[in-house]
Symmetry: C2
Subunit: 246 residues, 2 copies
Amino acid sequence: MEQNYKLTLCYDGTRFFGWERQPGRDTIQGKLESVLSELTGKAVEVIGAGRTDAGVHARAMVASCVLDTGKTPEEIRDYLNRYLPPAIAVREVKLCAPQFHARYKARGKTYRYVYFDGAVRPVFERHYVTLSPVRLDEQQMRRAAAYLVGEHDFAAFCGNPRMKKSTVRTVDSFTVERRRDWVILTVHGNGFLQNMVRIMAGTLYEVGRGFWAPEQVAQILSSGDRRQAGPTAPPEGLCLMKVDYE
Amino acid sequence: MEQNYKLTLCYDGTRFFGWERQPGRDTIQGKLESVLSELTGKAVEVIGAGRTDAGVHARAMVASCVLDTGKTPEEIRDYLNRYLPPAIAVREVKLCAPQFHARYKARGKTYRYVYFDGAVRPVFERHYVTLSPVRLDEQQMRRAAAYLVGEHDFAAFCGNPRMKKSTVRTVDSFTVERRRDWVILTVHGNGFLQNMVRIMAGTLYEVGRGFWAPEQVAQILSSGDRRQAGPTAPPEGLCLMKVDYE
């Protein structure tokens, strides 16, 4: 019998070409679909809450899919973990209502972006952090981040130059925290445009290194012009932390 | 002018053939010596506090070497971190007395061995942990570990069958701690035989999975026979945490 399932998963995106299935390339969606197709003997489509870029990580990506299998959710989870590469782990598989849809029903997401600005680079966490060669001023970054909170047109922070739909989004919170040599940006919003978190992180980096004053971010936002914002920060510092549903 | 230096370093041993220099293979000592030879224009010999096996990690390995350079210790550290692979980081370089010798002057070492026995394997820490397919009884492991504390002949825990020197060592403390799905063994001693920590970890694993009673460890110890002990646990769970000097 066909049933709808909700999957929560964790992955180290370092060696993947992102979430989205692409012929001949290793992607998270591609790996999940191929293992689930082996399990059920049929083609399976996995819907992700969002599409992470190549090299971006997730601690709790949510996905949904319809499966026809006699296995329990726990057996599905264990089967996936046995056959998926070690860089992907399925934390939970749950039966869910037929109308559940990982993308359409997502109400919010939390992302974390991490910079390291110490003299001696980290070894064990090196794939999960962006190195900054200069010391960052996290207080200035915090002031800059405050301008991004609220409902705004984030066109200046959109990586897709041919975006036809609305670029209005709501950022509920954006915190900047220093723990010794680590500067941790945590942003929560109802949805994010393509590369939006990385462009915000790259813009705050320009503030943190003293190239821009925090107020510059207000001007960038109101310009609606991608060229005014900072560079897209590298993928390795980014991690999808949580997806909210009703 | 030639001066003696003390280096403290961190490495992810996953892709290295261990500490010791070997022709044509990537080793920690080999990488350090080649970068330091570039820096000084002369052959440099780096002496490590010990030789970690292929795949074993270190958070604070100590090494010493004699260098003839006009650079400050901090400049040497930065030069090393610029040219070493990202899996090796030099945390500190210090000038030290001419008689300092990283191996002969070491008074004690702390090692940590980590098992993971949860249902969903860790993703981000996957290279730094040994997976156990069965739940481990950490209380039984703790009882077993207690038999190893003290001055003993550890011949049964020595990986070198042709060891000619004394196999007597002192283990000062051996703790077993569970943090959710992680079982963490921490052992401190005045010195360790070849593979000794991994054989102790493999033996405690047999106790943790219920194959042996804790008292078996006392018998293994007094047998002096390597074949009585458990298998050598895999390298990835092992990390050198600290080296003590007077």
